[in-house]
């Protein structure tokens, strides 16, 4: 940088280079845990007698470099982005909505039951729109109880949302097996939405247009949370609820609103997964996306754009990992290990960074 000046050995940086450095530091702080986690997970593979380099290169090749793989990866991102945007709203407002899996799955089941019926009554586009709205509404409905308990009784939402998730997963199964079961099949599953009636694909690829919905949602959420008065209010509630009450903010109402928005986005994720990819729900299907997205959102420090990057990385790992499971015999559970190590590495990086800064000052 030519415009930085040296005085007495101490670098005095102009604001611009300072900002650049701050940004680089953030990028480095995100990359270091990722690389570290991949190395440590590689050691786990090594211990299991699998060549980590072979595994990783296979994952990258299958998840990122093959035309089929990259399309599958981008399609996988759609529900994950919606879940991530829901989590960002909640976490920024200091509310631990850990019930995303229940909200996602119930919405998926209701949409899967509704869409094949509606398609005979309504035009295609109207069916899709109605189903997306219903999906969001079902997700939001599944958060009403935790929201009210948190807002008016002060009951810890970590517990209530987790309980609602377990309840929702079983309830979804009951619905699939008893109420919405397709009588034409022997395995318990809902009726199937024909491929032609699903969310349109992008251009000439197999990428679902759900990706666009997901990207729009997460960017919108990012801008609302960082640039608008509403977002600021939520962040104040998150940073210090007591101060928020003193500032005259309607904390209970905002809490309920946060739950509703967050859960509606998770529910939308379920709707998009059914309308764009699955077409139906089989009994006992539970991808458990939400609890795996939680770490990614943390890793991105609740930043929407960084979340997109981490969701992409996770999609590559999970799509590539699915192929690798068939080829190299490493089951998909391995991605869970990677995510866990990633989280721990993130924590350590953050801790070291804090210490470094504390020592520098």
């Amino acid at each position: 940088m030519t415009d930085s000046v040296q005085i007495g050995g101490d670098a005095v940086l102009t604001p611009r280079t300072e900002a650049l450095r701050a940004r680089l530091r953030l990028v480095a702080m995100a990359l270091v845990p990722v690389v570290g986690a991949l190395v440590l997970s590689g050691l786990v593979l090594l211990a299991l007698g699998v060549n980590p380099l072979a595994y990783y290169s296979y994952v990258v090749e299958r998840g990122l470099l093959s035309p089929y793989g990259v399309q599958a990866t981008l399609t996988r991102m759609a529900p994950l982005l919606l879940i991530a945007s829901g989590l960002i709203v909640a976490f920024r407002a200091g509310i631990w909505n850990l019930g995303g899996d229940g909200q996602f799955l119930l919405s998926a089941v209701v949409v899967a039951a509704l869409a094949p019926l509606l398609i005979h009554v309504l035009p295609d586009w109207a069916t899709l729109v109605v189903c997306l709205v219903v999906g969001a509404a079902v997700g939001a409905a599944w958060s009403v109880l935790p929201a009210l308990l948190k807002a008016y009784q002060g009951v810890n939402e970590i517990i209530t949302t987790l309980m609602m998730t377990f309840l929702g997963v079983s309830f979804a199964n009951v619905l699939v097996k008893l109420a919405f079961r397709d009588p034409a099949t022997t395995v318990p599953q809902t009726r199937t939405l024909a491929v032609a009636d699903r969310l349109p694909r992008l251009f000439d690829t197999t990428i679902s247009s759900g990706l666009l919905i997901g990207l729009a949602a997460i960017i919108l959420v990012h801008l609302v949370m960082t640039r608008t008065a509403f977002g600021l209010k939520l962040r104040i509630v998150g940073a210090n609820p007591r101060a928020a009450i003193h500032a005259g903010l309607p904390v209970p109402a905002l809490t309920v609103a946060v739950f509703a928005i967050s859960a509606a986005l998770s529910g939308l994720g379920g709707a998009v997964e059914i309308l764009g990819v699955q077409g139906n729900v089989r009994a006992d299907w539970n991808p458990a996306y939400s609890l795996t997205v939680v770490p990614l959102v943390f890793l991105a420090r609740f930043n929407g754009f960084a979340s997109i990057a981490f969701v992409f990385l996770f999609s590559v790992l999970s799509i590539g990992g699915e192929s690798a499971a068939r080829r190299t015999g490493v089951p998909n559970f391995f991605t869970l290990v990677v995510v866990a190590i990633l989280l721990v590495m993130l924590g350590i990086t953050e801790y070291l960074d804090q210490r470094r800064r504390a020592a520098g000052k």
């Binding site: 308990l149 810890n156 517990i159 309980m163 079983s170 309830f171 089951p331 869970l336 866990a340 989280l343």
Partner: protein
Amino acid sequence: MSALFTEAFLTSLILGALTAGLPLLLAGLGEQISEKAGVLNIGIEGMMLIGAYVGFLIAYETGSIWLGFLGGGVGGMAVALLMAIFCVRLGLSQIVIGIALTLGAEGLTALLHHFQFAQSYPRLPAVETLAIPGLSSIPAIGPALFNRPPIVYLAILAVPFVAYVFRSTQLGLALQAAGDKPAALDAAGVDVVRVRTFAVLTTGFLAGIGGAFMAEVGAGIFIPFMTNGAGFIGIVLAMLARGKPLWVLLGALLFGACLSITTALQVAGVDIPTDVIQMLPFAAVLAILVLFGRRASLPPALGLHYVRGAR
């Protein structure tokens, strides 16, 4: 409906409640110790799962059920050690690390199970029971309550023991203070970090034994993801019990009954889909939270990292 009141039904219901409830009791009791000391332990599910895997493996390889429990406890403690290092020493977010440990334990045990047993699911022989003379011959209740593996009696004896420690010992006082007013404890010359580390490790040990019990006694087999939310129910039990170990025991038996009622109903010849039954314990938790939510109490410093001298 008359089949519901037969001796066989009653015996299988009590037996089921005890078998399904014991891991919840150990998890809840452990979580209570952590929470008392101010650490919200979301990773308890992971500790149970590692305990289940290690406990099963050791019992399977050595043929000793006791070594299995010990191994399960130590396994859970190893996970708890990570929690203690990251959350108590370094002050990282207890929720993030808790989720990480649970996810990691899920992935790791499923992975190890896959590589070790491939698709076969080896089984342990049935665990020997210890009949308490006299009591075990009471009809219906006797065989269900007083003819159980010795670990069951030990776990139940742990309840009054923990209650005694909480109420009447220095250690109990220190645990309580670490959760309520860590600064005061510090001022009294007790190392808060050490107290909390002790609490978290104890939690891991108990949760690990709880997991081992699930695999060794409850199922006789290790299945990936087999804890299926038991750790989270343990957290709820600890919260609702408000620091009273006896309430954890009662809650654990209640949830155990919910979890095991399917088997009992099958014995009685009533056919209800298992998914409906599986909703019961979680619906029960929510019902209790709706009714008594305001009264579920948590220590003031729960979830907060304590830094010496910081305000």
